[in-house]
């Protein structure tokens, strides 16, 4: 059984975290630390880079290299880091808002360039840090602090977007599915090129409250029931699909990454 090894990646002395009770960020942090431990990643060759947001504070509790830049730009910063330090394993852990609103362009271009980064998006369907406004990933019609009568904009599927743009690896899971989450973060860490792990996560303080999902337990149960394996999902009829979301591995390929591209052109 894995031991306490994961704690070498966690700044235990800085806990408790600033997060609300039940928030998914801590669960993701633990899964990440466990994945690091199982892969025995050297902390000095491991970088956790974060966006700005509640999820962005994950880096306040780690012991490896840590970068925390400006809202939405993490992938652009890390593109620079990776070009000069290709040996670093870089994990960019971003919020849904950070990644898909202000950071949309960098997200698409990092995937297109296939930069060797594991991008973990903590998708709590809203801007937790600023008080629960909708994000581009919030489903249509949901209630948030800036959509009191329902979000009037369609969402977009960032997994499909990453796939289209050129990512090597794309996986979606939820905070409920902890074991799967840890395992696929590990799988992503083993890949070269751009990987996306989207983790749908509860925000009990805003999202669950505004949408009357109930407490954190109810929201986790909702994740458990609504997110079904992609294979199952694909066999559903369209009408049925509307009630579910898929989770699982969308993409797994081995296209050359940015570093390889740039070196190739040197002949």
């Amino acid at each position: 059984m894995p031991s306490d090894d994961y704690k070498q990646y966690v700044a235990m002395d800085r806990l408790p975290s600033i997060w609300c009770p039940g928030c998914g960020n801590g669960v993701a942090l633990k899964a990440l630390a466990l994945a690091f431990a199982e892969l025995e990643m050297p902390p000095d060759k491991t970088l956790l880079a974060n966006g700005i947001g509640c999820s962005g504070r994950v880096g306040d509790y780690v012991r490896c290299h840590r970068f925390h830049g400006t809202h939405g730009r993490t992938l652009a910063f890390v593109t620079g880091i990776k070009l000069v330090r290709p040996e670093i394993k870089a994990v960019c852990l971003l919020g849904d808002g950070d990644c898909s609103a202000i950071g949309m362009s960098h997200f698409v271009h990092s995937a297109r360039r296939n930069v060797d980064i594991v991008t973990i998006v903590i998708n709590n369907y809203n801007y937790g840090m600023t008080g629960g406004q909708f994000s581009p990933l919030s489903p249509y019609n949901v209630i948030t602090s800036t959509s009191r009568s329902g979000k009037a904009e369609p969402d977009i599927d960032i997994c499909k977007l990453a796939d289209l743009a050129g990512a090597n690896y794309v996986f979606r899971t939820t905070i409920y599915h902890v074991v799967e989450m840890k395992n696929y973060i590990k799988e992503a860490l083993g890949k070269k090129g751009f990987s996306l792990v989207e983790i749908v996560s509860p925000c009990p303080t805003y999202y669950a409250r505004y949408n009357k999902i109930g407490n954190i337990i109810k929201q986790l149960e909702w994740l458990k029931d609504k997110f079904i394996p992609i294979e199952e999902y694909n066999q559903m009829k369209d009408a049925e699909k509307e009630n579910f979301f898929w989770r699982g591995r969308l993409t797994n390929r081995d296209l050359p990454d940015l570093y390889q591209h740039t070196r190739r052109s040197r002949g």
Partner: protein, 377 residues
Amino acid sequence: MTIKKLLTGNDACTYAAINAGARFFAGYPITPATEIVELCSELMPVYNGNFIQMEDEIASIAAVIGASLGGAKAFTATSGPGLALMSENIGFAAMAEVPCVIINVQRYGPSTGIATKFSQSDVMAVRWGSPGDHSLIVLAPSSVQDSYDLTVEAFNLSERFRTPVILLSDAALAHVREKVEIREPGELNLYQREKPSGPVNGYLPYGTLHNNVPVMSNFGDEHILRVTGLVHQESGYSSDNSQIAEELVQRLARKIDNYQEELPAPFFYGRQAADLIVVSFGISARASLEAVNTVNSEGFKAGMLELRTIWPFPRKKVKELCSGAKKILVVEANHGQVREQLISCGFPPEKLRGVNKQNAEVITPSEVLLALKEENS
């Protein structure tokens, strides 16, 4: 080895950067800085460095900051509209104390303005583009040689002070071709950023200060680095403590403002105790100097002060050198942005005549001459 070459200002900046040790360039094309982007795309691979054309200027300065934190000397080049976009991340670099160089080739603005034409109207924007209190360094070359020399200096200062340094060039200087003495790396005094040497355990990225500047590790090195744009403790972990905030923000100013003697001093030409002094910078200083030489050869007693460090504004030096003047002419192709700084030095506005031009053309020697003669009559 020192070699002589005919180069444009933009090319000189690029070779200087390479020779100063820059091995990373990220940028987004923009007139009149584009040639720097293009030349870097050719040279960086040759020098085993990295060139990347990012999706915009925000991403460009971000990649530069990232590369710098990875240990590379890194830079970008842009012009007005791109500079504006970079301002948030320039503020970040100031806060997180990341060395980096931004070459800002001024063009005619505001907004898209006239992309191919000349202006010196970014003097304030380079200093104040990013919100919050912090200091930063801005240098302005006046010739192609100076573009080379001050670019080298920009890298040195940015490593020494761990701060963004902006080189304030312009559309005219960028494209004029002049002789440059290229001192190659062996000839140059290059400042290498200080690296932590103590034990790896318990290392605090912002914990050891030399001259108020932290001795920081790089990402991927064995001393674990933590960087954030939030107010942070010595550990690099975030904090919202009032005292930590005040100490940090005041140090960001102090670490530069208290060491101004290390920054390129203004050049003074002509009569030291002159009644009439021309203050200028950049290519306008060349027109000014020609005019001053002309009047002096006709028996005037005029002096000429060429600013090389624009920010922090070299108040002490300027006061010292200009205090005797009865009249000071401030020659600049903008609304009078440097003239304002002289007022801030305590020179009374009546003493300060602005020789300004805002029509997208360079200020010529005869225009300065005219102003000088008016003042003397």
